[in-house]
């Protein structure tokens, strides 16, 4: 049995300390978070409110006209539970002109446009509210590349990117994320009836256990099959991880000089702070 359970008190201490330190050391004290109504952004919002105080967190709801009403209501549950500041910006009017310009646009393109429109709203609020955009992508999603580059993956820092989805659930429950959010099936809600697990073709439970072996425990794909995982699932997950690696790194820069950003110009973000 693969045990992904974590000590939630210790995780909470490290992650709230991370948010507080990494935001204040660059002379900010506030955070901006896109609140989707799902469990990931709810957890990030709970951690940020604890780290910075609820008055220093701006939760932004950004529905599109087809978004599920549940998403808005569930985001409101988080806002009410924490007492964070909040704002609702409907993105319909931002994205529809582009949809009309390209009537052949499929769901994938539309979903990406919406994710990037939300990024624009968040980064604008970042300037207006003087807060850093806190990320909401978990480890499963980052590894599988189940996100939009420069869309929902865009952030200044990410407290939950080293937690698998099942660990997010455990920690979310421990910090008090409202029950309806814990209970519902994960969905990007980019079109009606969409669920992550249906789109991915496997469950988070399966993916997390497999990724934990592949990534954290350094199992080879063959070792995973020997450990009881379906060979086609192992292949599909490995291929997703590999194919989406570009989303996890900065764009490569063509090297010409002696010292090139990304190769031999190496400093942490926290340089000098």
């Amino acid at each position: 049995m693969i045990d992904l359970s974590i000590n939630p008190a210790l995780a909470r201490k490290i992650l709230t300390g991370f948010l507080r330190t990494e935001i204040t050391r660059v002379n900010f004290r506030k955070a901006v978070i896109g609140l989707s109504g799902g469990i990931d952004s709810a957890l990030s919002c709970f951690l940020a409110a604890e780290a910075l105080g609820p008055e220093n967190v701006l939760a932004v709801r950004m529905p599109y006209r087809t978004s599920s009403p549940d998403s808005l209501e569930h985001a409101q549950l988080v806002i009410d539970a924490l007492g964070v500041q909040s704002l609702t910006v409907d993105i319909t009017e931002m994205v529809e002109p582009l949809f009309s310009r390209f009537p052949e646009m499929d769901n994938l393109r539309k979903g990406n446009v919406m994710a990037r429109a939300r990024m624009i709203v968040l980064y604008d609020q970042s300037a207006a509210f003087r807060g850093l955009v806190v990320g909401t992508g978990n480890k499963t999603e980052l590894l599988l590349g189940y996100s939009t580059l420069y869309g929902d993956s865009a952030c200044a820092l990410n407290p939950i990117g080293d937690l698998y989805k099942t660990q997010v659930r455990q920690l979310a429950r421990a910090v008090g994320v409202p029950e309806p959010i814990l209970a519902k099936p994960p969905s990007a809600d980019l079109w009606v009836g969409q669920t992550d697990e249906e789109e991915l073709g496997f469950t988070y439970e399966q993916a997390d256990q497999l990724l934990y072996l592949l990534v954290d425990q350094r199992y080879s794909p063959e070792d995973c099959v020997a450990a009881g995982f379906d060979a086609s699932l192992v292949r599909a997950v490995m291929e997703r991880v590999r194919r989406n690696h570009f989303k996890r790194i900065l764009p490569p820069i063509a090297k010409l000089g002696n010292r090139t950003i990304g190769y031999d110009f190496l400093y942490l973000r926290d340089w000098g702070t």
Binding site: T21, L266, R269
Partner: protein, 283 residues
């Protein structure tokens, strides 16, 4: 003889030696006020840990004419200090280093001999490898210094023991990792296990100063400890928070423990040398 050891479990400013120096001097005063005799700072306490290309820019020489070491040496008139820094040798090789300062003198400088260059670590890319493990005499007896990965290997503590060290001064900037369902991070648990083991196996005092704070996504977990020659915990700092942790060490405990448990007396060093020579030759 009683020795009060203070562990300066601090956060640092990455690449800002001046600001870190101020913190060292303030803590030296505070520790002195608490009647501490020896104050131990963590690995790279004057510079921060993930230096990368900053390594050469923050280097200093542990000498009286150095602007950072001058005030530290002055402070060492009142309290012995172990400080972590980047040492640049006369031929501009850069080492992860720790210096023992006492009564205005540099008694010892240790260059880290094991530079982890795997996983999240990249020290071998930026630093030169130290090449000696030596004990040294202090006004509180003979001691030895090791830095982080140095004591993840079993041989450097063993060498210091044979070289006469009765107190091991260990410094770290240990990134927290291995979150599971247990009370501690796996990295914290591992370090505490081995430090307790060294104290027990070598019947020595083991003082470990580990830093706290964050550098980008890395957290440093603190939990600095002092173990006595019986392997008993004398003091432990909090996890993940800055602290000055004091431990009163009764150096006579070495006498009592070794009267009961003569592991040092019975250590077969000639056998070790003979077998080690054979093993190294055969290989």
């Amino acid at each position: 003889m009683t020795l009060t050891i203070a562990l300066a479990q601090i956060n640092t400013t990455l690449g800002n030696v001046e600001r870190n120096l101020e913190k060292h001097l303030a803590l030296a005063k505070e520790a002195r006020k608490s009647d501490a005799d020896l104050l131990i700072f963590p690995e790279l306490s004057l510079t921060g840990y993930v230096l990368q290309d900053l390594a050469s820019a923050v280097a200093h020489r542990p000498r009286r004419d150095d602007p950072v070491f001058r005030p530290l040496l002055e402070a060492s008139q009142d309290i012995d200090l172990v400080v972590g820094f980047v040492d640049e040798d006369s031929r501009s090789r850069f080492y992860i280093a720790a210096a023992y300062l006492s009564r205005g003198e540099v008694l010892h400088v240790h260059h880290k001999v094991y530079l982890p260059t795997y996983g999240l670590f990249d020290e071998g890319r930026f630093f030169a490898w130290g090449d000696s493990v030596r004990a040294f005499d202090t006004r509180f007896g003979r001691m030895g210094i090791l830095i982080c990965e140095d004591f993840w290997h079993a041989s450097p503590p063993y060498l210091l023991w044979l070289d006469g060290a009765d107190t091991l001064l260990l410094t770290s900037a240990s990134p927290g990792r291995g979150l599971g369902s247990g009370e501690q991070l796996a990295s914290a648990q591992w370090v505490e296990h081995i430090n307790r083991a060294y104290a027990s196996l070598y019947t020595v005092f083991v003082a470990h100063a580990n830093r706290v704070g964050y550098e980008d996504g890395l957290n440093f977990w603190g939990g600095s400890t002092v173990f006595d020659p019986d392997g008993d915990l004398l003091a432990r700092g909090p996890y993940h928070e800055e602290a000055l942790t004091l431990a009163e060490v009764d150096l006579r405990q070495i006498h009592r423990t070794r009267a009961r448990l003569p592991l040092l007396r019975d250590e077969r060093t000639a056998l070790v040398r003979r077998e080690l020579n054979r093993i190294l030759q055969d290989n």
